[in-house]
Amino acid sequence: MATKGIEESRRNFIRKAAAAGGLLATGLLNPFNAILYAVEKPTDPTKHWWGFGIDIEKCIGCGRCANACKEENNVPREPFYFRNWVEQYTIKNDGSVKVESPNGGIDGFVQTVPKEDIFKAFFVPKMCNHCYKSPCVQACPVGATYETPDGVVLVDETYCIGCRYCVQACPYGCRYIHPEKNTVDKCTLCYHRISKGKTTACVEVCPTQARIFGDLNDKNGELVKFLKEHTCLVLKPHLNTGSKLYYNGLNGEVR
């Protein structure tokens, strides 16, 4: 009896140890990296699954992307409405952080911190993260905000009631209420262009190729190559929004 009991507990121990070891091995085989954020979806890997990459190391803060976006998508010119903007981060020697985005960076930037006080300075272009677990889609009470099968978050402006709950739900500040339409507006990833095989307006005008638009399902595509060759991160990963906007060279100070 006693031997049987010991054997059983030994068997259990081995079983448990194997399970734990298996888990550990899986963990080692599939290390947690940025691309994991996009592997749960879509169900059909033969179709497009749009994502976006931004190389902070290449951005020069010219603001042409923000301007081109306003032109292409008829975004109101007032400095309160942006589908796409650039932020200038300046980390000073004393550790303090200065962030600026005058008119979304459209008119360019002037560095106001004296050079000797600067520890680090860089530009961070921002836009909709086209999250696949997006809090804005979750929050919309009528379903006017939705995700297309190819992974783009869009708004049906004929359906939006203008409650602004999605604006509150977006952690990245990517939505605004259109002053004339009184409905919400945001980056469409230039859906009218990409569905015709073109690239987005912001990518087209970027002089340094800091912006990469691409298909996460195209394993030989430009975006997957970018993710492979760089250590990419998404903004606010702790919120688990499933962001598909990947940054290379993202500092911890950026929010």
């Binding site: 309160f80 889609v137 009470p141 009631i161 203008g162 500040g173 209420i177």
Partner: protein
């Protein structure tokens, strides 16, 4: 510069630090402060009423119908601030026609309708049915016709039917208590579930909203009971008043403890958002949080009502203290809603700066509209008290 953007340019000059460019335009203003405030008054008033009915606190009898009618008057207006602030108010029905099942806001419409139709209207109707039938036979003219409509064609007053009215009414009140909890806990969830906003996103939010709702609803019934009795030149039932004040005191303790717990938890955990929230409460929210909500709206009523539990001065003094406390609590809970709704939008989600909120007089988000939605429930209550006076009912049922 076009005039429609003028206030935004003014806001832009008020920005401190860095905010995302789209955050200059503050999205939810005074009307959305009123929405949880009014909904809370409804839930609180109903819960006070159900204390009498379900938990058999007989001393609260004089305020039972008054509390129910108050709840109804405010519930009828509760969604108005919400609808009138929409970019497209005429599309509001889409929330009920094609609700999006994952949205916290979408389900509110159904919770609201359930509460209005199934709980409040039915309960009031069953409670008044016998009186309505009697009044419809005694009254002529417009009012008489109204009573006839309100009987819904049921004129049976046999003791058996009246007993059934009471039984079903009791059952509905029992269902009503969790419904009232649901109604306001749910409003808390609308804010508490926004993970993008650390000032809102706390699991305690629905519970805090619920208890603050009870506090404000009880204070409102206390206030209305005193005003209505004074208008009618009747003697106030001090036993009822003392009991309401006692309940107010207890719930206020619970509410304050919960809010304190929430803040202590935030301070102790001191997450990523801690610095900006600390700047928020010590800066832009200092007056409305520490002075209006905590000092005037909570501590002073808490201490005053607490003293009255130990020492009972003469009636007039007590009445004055109760009256002042009810007003202070109503004021304090209004600013509790303000601090949640406005406070949660004053800091940037980048945690690097603040925007400002300027209350405008006119416009759909302005003070004037807000006043309409605050005054309207009192007018509706006036009408309801004219149509369904609880005091006449009392006389008849005792005779």
């Amino acid at each position: 510069m076009e005039p429609q953007y003028q206030h935004l340019y003014e806001m832009l000059s008020q920005v401190r630090g860095f905010i995302y460019p789209n955050e200059v335009d503050l999205q939810w203003g005074l009307l959305i402060v009123l929405y949880p405030y009014i909904t809370g008054l409804v839930a609180g008033a109903f819960i006070l009423a159900s204390l009498e009915r379900v938990f058999n606190v007989k001393v609260l009898k004089p305020t039972y119908q008054l509390a129910l009618l108050t709840a109804l008057a405010f519930l009828l207006v509760a969604t108005m601030p919400l609808v009138s602030h929409l970019g497209h108010p005429f599309r509001a029905y889409e929330i009920l026609m094609t609700p999006h099942s994952t949205s916290a806001m979408a389900i509110f419409g159904f919770v609201y309708l359930w509460y209005l139709m199934v709980v409040l209207l039915l309960e009031i109707w069953l409670d008044y049915r016998r009186d309505i039938v009697i009044w419809s036979q005694q009254t002529t003219g417009f009012k008489g016709r109204l009573y006839k409509i309100l009987t819904l064609g049921v004129k049976d007053l046999s003791p058996r039917t009246v007993r059934w009215d009471d039984k079903i009414g009791y059952f509905i009140t029992v269902v009503g208590i969790p419904s009232a909890f649901l109604l306001h806990g749910y409003v808390g969830f609308i804010f508490g579930s926004v993970k993008a906003n650390p000032w809102w996103s706390t699991v305690l939010m629905p519970v805090i909203f619920l208890f603050s709702a009870m506090v404000s609803g009880i204070a409102l019934v206390l206030f209305i009971y005193m005003v209505v009795t004074w208008f009618r030149r009747q003697k106030i039932d001090m036993a009822a008043l003392d009991s309401i004040a006692k309940f107010l005191f207890y719930i206020l303790i619970l509410d304050f403890t919960l809010e304190g717990l929430d803040q202590i938890h935030r301070i102790y955990e001191a997450e990523e958002s801690f610095e900006i929230l600390s700047l928020l409460v010590h800066g832009p929210l200092f007056l409305t949080l520490f002075i209006f909500q905590i000092l005037l709206g909570t501590l002073i009523p808490l201490i005053s009502l607490g003293i009255l539990q130990l020492y009972k001065p003469k009636e007039l003094t007590r009445r004055i203290i109760y009256f002042s406390c009810s007003l202070l609590v109503l004021f304090g809970i209004f600013f509790m809603r303000w601090n949640v709704v406005i406070g949660g939008q004053l800091f940037s989600k980048s945690f690097y700066g603040f925007t400002d909120y300027k209350l405008r007089l006119a416009g759909s988000e302005g003070l004037l509209w807000a006043l309409v939605w605050v005054i309207l429930p009192f007018l509706i209550l006036g009408f309801l008290l004219w149509l369904l006076p609880p005091w006449k009912k009392l006389e008849e049922s005792t005779s």
